[in-house]
Symmetry: D3
Subunit: 329 residues, 6 copies
């Protein structure tokens, strides 16, 4: 299979003949009749199709959100924006294409594992290490964890995003723990456990979404239940009841305040560190994404054209300087 | 001069014969008549006196907040709490005693300078380095900066607290910048400049307080004015207008949101990093202080006796575990 | 043992010779020296003692919060308020007196059980009934549930308060469910399960308090963990995974909004009903208590003397009318 | 006149020849020119028409919001949604058709009256009964009250909705009053009076809307004025001044908090009961409506496709279980 | 009767022999026994007494809040504060002393009336003038209006304060109306009517307080009811229904937002003007009072010693400059 | 050059042959293809064009936001709204047309200057007058100040709007200062300085917009920097350091609260006056604009058709009465 085309960069006139994910199917009305526009995507990004008119409906029978299709077409332009004029589209059997070619991804996950596993190996308390290893020493857990996105449409919304985010929180959490003299091992444990509930709260093959359990219980309590159940399966238990409570508190409080979804606010130094590290990774990733997206800016403007929802309605500024560096200063 | 006694640990029956700072002078009424209680302090902590009754008033003439006094007395106990029974108290001339012996302090500031100066030396953009050096290359600025507290009664409220806090924000900021790929030099510049306004907003000899300028303008805008004035004094200017705006924005936005005192919210990646690093240093220091203070806990209780104002009315938990480490696990 | 005296009504001059709970031990300072005041209580209410002066300290050695003591004394008056002048106070062995004589209580719990058990018996879905019976069919659970208060210092803060509150929520929930056509059985299940976490979150022998687990995890998530663990112990499971999620959602969402401590907001009709029924029972109990407490009013005033914290800083009005009924209207 | 067709269920190809209410007239632009779409409704629901193009404008002259028209047409389909292709539409004289056939309605109001009148008849205080009867014993008031909707586009937005809502609040209010021992008669009086201002605040013949008085004064104060005026017309007055104030307070406070439109917060037990009963009826009706509306869900999904404004931006879950009932468990 | 002494300025050693208002009676405990302190006041201010010990109780029998007493005593000092050592205190018959000598007051009200009556006389619309004159042309209304305070403990809390505040709102409202071209007559009508409900909401003879009606209904709705009733008494009515609604809306909305107690937000230009004028008069009066009160500042400090509740927890700054004027600039 | 046509009133069929500003260029899609609509404006208002279809694109090459064009066309109608059918549109050279003919404007600015300069001339403190005159005595400052809008799309969004707003704030501020006895000269200084930062924060030739500095620093801190720099340029300085701080505080606090963009809340009486005067001018202008705009109302309705964002989501009421004046009252 050839390398997937970079949908974000494909020039007008380029030919496409590739397996693409149907990310969205949108019906709109017009005076000429109703039409359908597909949003197609792969690991590089997304591109919309030209309209399918009523007479084209048979050609897109069976095309729905989450399906993978073999698409033949050509990149055109309409109203200043690129679009894909599809000449043929055909549903592929489930599993015919590796999801990693169809969805955005953090790429090679090995460095993230290498970092986290190294630090995990340095945990000194045997009961803490044993409890963490119930998850991080389990191959099936690792297989799912390295695929899961960290959100469905916000920060780190990509395959492996959760693992990357976890690694970032670990880096930041260690720096904070160092200056405030928190227990590094316990902070790391919190980092590794805080988002495990997302494995039950999200689904990602096909298209990123929230499971019914995710909607009804939230990833915070799902993570607490997951830890509680797994520890409960072990005989003898890997840690004491008080220790389990300390770990559950790290998960319960990592959103910081109840109005942001914490079950309780942080009451230990390590929970406080975890909250700030988690927040810093999530929010700076959103800012970096917003600045990277040219659609947020008009022409040469340095300030974003509108306030951005992912930044809580702030505008962003992409101006920069080399501070005289280029001038050999 | 002998080493100042550790007021926090002094046992009942101990004799005191030392120079102490008059931190507070409080008048109260009682059925027996009005009485006065002094709070005395030094670099190790504070201790309250036994009451001075009306007949004792001549002995404390001239004793007011911020004065240094030679105190002779003995540690007694009253209602379960230690108190100092003063037999003699005499005002000392201003400057007779080094402030560092009278106020809480971070101790040796050299390591903080060493860290910050090393990183400062690595700034690559010449105009950025030059602008920063207007302050950090100035001996008088350094002399004041290494004394200033980071707050008057909250986090890092000690001599040198601002420098220590700056160093912590630098450590955390570098970690965040690394994972989100922000400009490390610009983040460091923001770290070094964000709180310079506190030099004008606080006063610390005698007792920590807020200046009139600090109350009327706030440390955020005072810092902006300080940077603007200092750059304006240079001819040619050390940086361009746009660069100055970028630096001013870092100061202006470091409180994150207007309701927390930011002039504008962060609009650049580096401003976002700075905000989260600043917040993490301040809030985890408050949590660590709260957990260290035995007055927040009753007896053997692991949960604090009351919700703590410095933690936004949260309670704190001081329980911990060695996770089996002691057991040779 | 004689019936415990009604501490709220005892006239000045009355003699007390009874076992009382030491609800609080408060140290205060005065010009004459430090003194101690005890708050003593039994099932009828509380009464404070006259001061114990330094010379009286040996008489109250060993008296601490939560202890039960045999007290001999006489009701006096001081500054317009009744106080107990204690001539003898002696610690009793733990367990010497039935807690029900020492703490406020809802009284006979049988009618509450009768009502709840009757409705529980009418649940039609066998898997729902079986799951509920894991708790309500368990003698040890019932023994603890009928003792537990519904809060430590707010609404239904009395032995059996949780059971009484549960019964009230059931009555109200059924009425709401009737008019909005919710599933009565599922609403009842939510009513019976929503506060089970309080068994782990509170402790009540001695004096009402919050456990470490209650502080670190909150009664909402403790209840979810309790249900999850109990169901997990059964083989085969009493209900399906989806059914367990629906029950967990009822517990998770019963506080209505995240800022009020809900893990997630209600997403089903039954969860919405439960939330409003729970709220109505708690808030109207607080209002009724506030109106019943003469200390909230001055003299003949109909409007409370101050805004009341338990009513979110509202004032209360105790005026009423017989609307002409007495006049034979 | 034949029974009005069920617009919500009418199959494609069905013929319509009925009197319908013009609920909305919407002008839109398209490349082919401007077009008009009508929303037509009757007691069963609503259906939109196919576009009227410029050449069709004469056919819809005089058609405006609130008019009743005799419509002939056929149900077609366009973009997956049903629409009415109108072949003839003709304005009918005002009053030609019973409003109850044209607007959504609660149906037979007799049972609601029966319930409320029965409980009203049990009010014991003669002055209370007399005051309530000024309204509920007045035929013209009853005629209007049994038509008025409880909101224009939210809960119980249907003819008779106010009466139905009143009945629901009565049922719930009695249950709450029972458990907190509030005065049942006074709670009922509050239930019967709390929303009378809606008679002046809303208009409903034609289409539901807010009157100028409703916008400028709000239904809370309109209700207070209505009670005050009506009582003022009686000589001798039916109740005392204090009693009138107690009733006015019930109306004034039924929204609970000032930010939700209460003039004052509830200060009596009966006002507190009324507030929670009112809220429970309104909010659970909204949840039930949201779950009943298939447009809120996509395909087989159990969680609503988007957050719903009428639920304060929550999602809803329509999953359910028979808990083994069908299996004969 | 001699002029009342200026209690705020009376020097230590001065003799008092005057009728004073008992503003407060406070019981406190001490080791020596319970004691009572009276706060006495007259039109110039207030002064506290020395303690009345148990043996003094017969001397203050019958002394309660709101009573007027003939007091003989001498100004002493205790703990740095002046206090009145009472040698004789005797209750005077109700009405023996003019309230204006006993309560703080705005002084001569004639200028306020002169201003308001002049502008009232310029109202051009006859129906508007007639409606306003129902109140402002009524001698009894004027007698009460010129006594009523504008609040019980906040801005303009003095006899005549409501009239003074009304006059201030008129001055400011006219300036705002001028620049935004609002209807001056209607703004004036709103100014004159907006606070009439305070006549029913407050009581002022004796001591300022809130009536039961004021607590249960609030001055906003009381004012609306007062206008509605008065207009309803006239036959023919002085204005049309729409005009009455416009006037009621001015009262209903003058607090601006529902969370600040408005029944509805301002929807007309005149209501908006009224709201801002009312707010400006109230808030700047509070600021001026705070700056005038030396108790808010310590020694020579220019910034207030603490944040002030009456300024929403702001500090105040009393620094000023003559900007070189004194220097003959 | 002929007088610019009144775009708001131009009848259908009118011919246009004028220089117009391209206020907006909007691309939309339709089934017939993409099309472009221009919004054209001049000093009287704005008018949209009929669509430019793909085949028309060459005719609008070079037409972008902020350009001035010579336009020939005729007013048509489409979907009930007027539109301009353009037959010819041609870009004019920058500067060919006076901006005052192209943008909304307050008209003649002389009266505003006359008022402000007169009051400025009455300032008594020489150092205050001198500091103000650094700006208001500077011709270049005046030239820019009399052009600048007071906002880009809110209140006073027109050329000269800032000057007009300043004049309004002065009128209102003087009235408030009079009743609360604030320093009139200092209030006027605050009025004149509070918005000077808008000169740096906004740009207005072409189309109103926010500069990068305006976005990154905000007009409040820009104004503080502007004052600080200008004063710093003078030798000797025109005022003392404390005086400069008092002036900077007026700018810093004029938004009243931090959540509304104030650097600090008002701490002086004059800052409080300024804040309320500024707010009253801005908010009543928005209300007056909303009431003047017929697009906010449907047909004869007196209440606005929807809640208006510029009024914080309130509705507006345009009903009025002559109160019998016309009837010869």
């Amino acid at each position: 299979m050839p390398a997937p085309p970079d949908l974000k960069q494909l020039a007008v006139g380029s030919r496409v003949q590739d397996a693409l994910l149907v990310v969205d199917v949108e019906q709109r009305d017009s005076a000429r009749g109703p039409f359908t526009i597909l949003t197609l995507g792969n690991c590089h990004g997304q591109l919309s199709t030209a309209p399918f008119w009523p007479e084209d409906q048979p050609r897109i029978a069976g095309i729905e959100r989450g399906v993978v299709a073999q698409v033949i077409g050509e990149v055109g332009q309409y109203g200043g924006k690129r679009q894909l004029k599809v000449s043929s589209i055909r549903v592929l059997p489930r599993g015919a294409v590796d999801w990693h070619l169809l969805l955005p991804s953090v790429g090679d996950v090995a460095p993230y594992w290498e970092t986290l596993d190294r630090w995990r190996g340095e945990i000194r308390g045997p009961r803490l290490r044993r409890t963490i290893d119930l998850f991080y020493g389990d191959a099936e857990f690792r297989r799912r964890y390295e695929e899961c996105p960290a959100s469905t449409a916000g920060h780190h919304a990509e395959l492996g995003g959760l693992l990357k985010h976890t690694c970032e929180v670990a880096v930041i959490g260690r720096a904070i723990a160092k200056v405030c003299r928190a227990d590094q091992d316990l902070v790391l444990a919190g980092v590794l456990l805080h988002d495990i509930g997302k494995l039950d709260a999200y689904r990602w093959p096909g298209a990123f979404g929230v499971t019914d359990d995710g909607a009804l219980l939230g990833h915070v309590t799902l993570g607490m239940l997951m830890l509680d159940r797994r520890v409960g399966e072990e005989d003898p238990p890997p840690c004491t009841d008080q220790e389990l409570t300390i770990l559950l508190h790290l998960i319960a409080s990592h959103h910081g305040r109840q109005e942001f979804g914490a079950a309780v606010p942080p009451m230990t130094l390590e929970a406080e560190v975890l909250h700030f590290a988690d927040n810093a990774s999530a929010k700076t990733a959103s800012m970096a994404d917003a600045l990277d997206d040219p659609d947020n800016f008009t022409g040469e403007a340095l300030v974003s054209a509108k306030s951005l929802w992912q930044l809580d309605r702030r505008r962003a500024y992409r101006g920069s300087s080399d501070w005289g560096l280029g001038a050999g200063g």
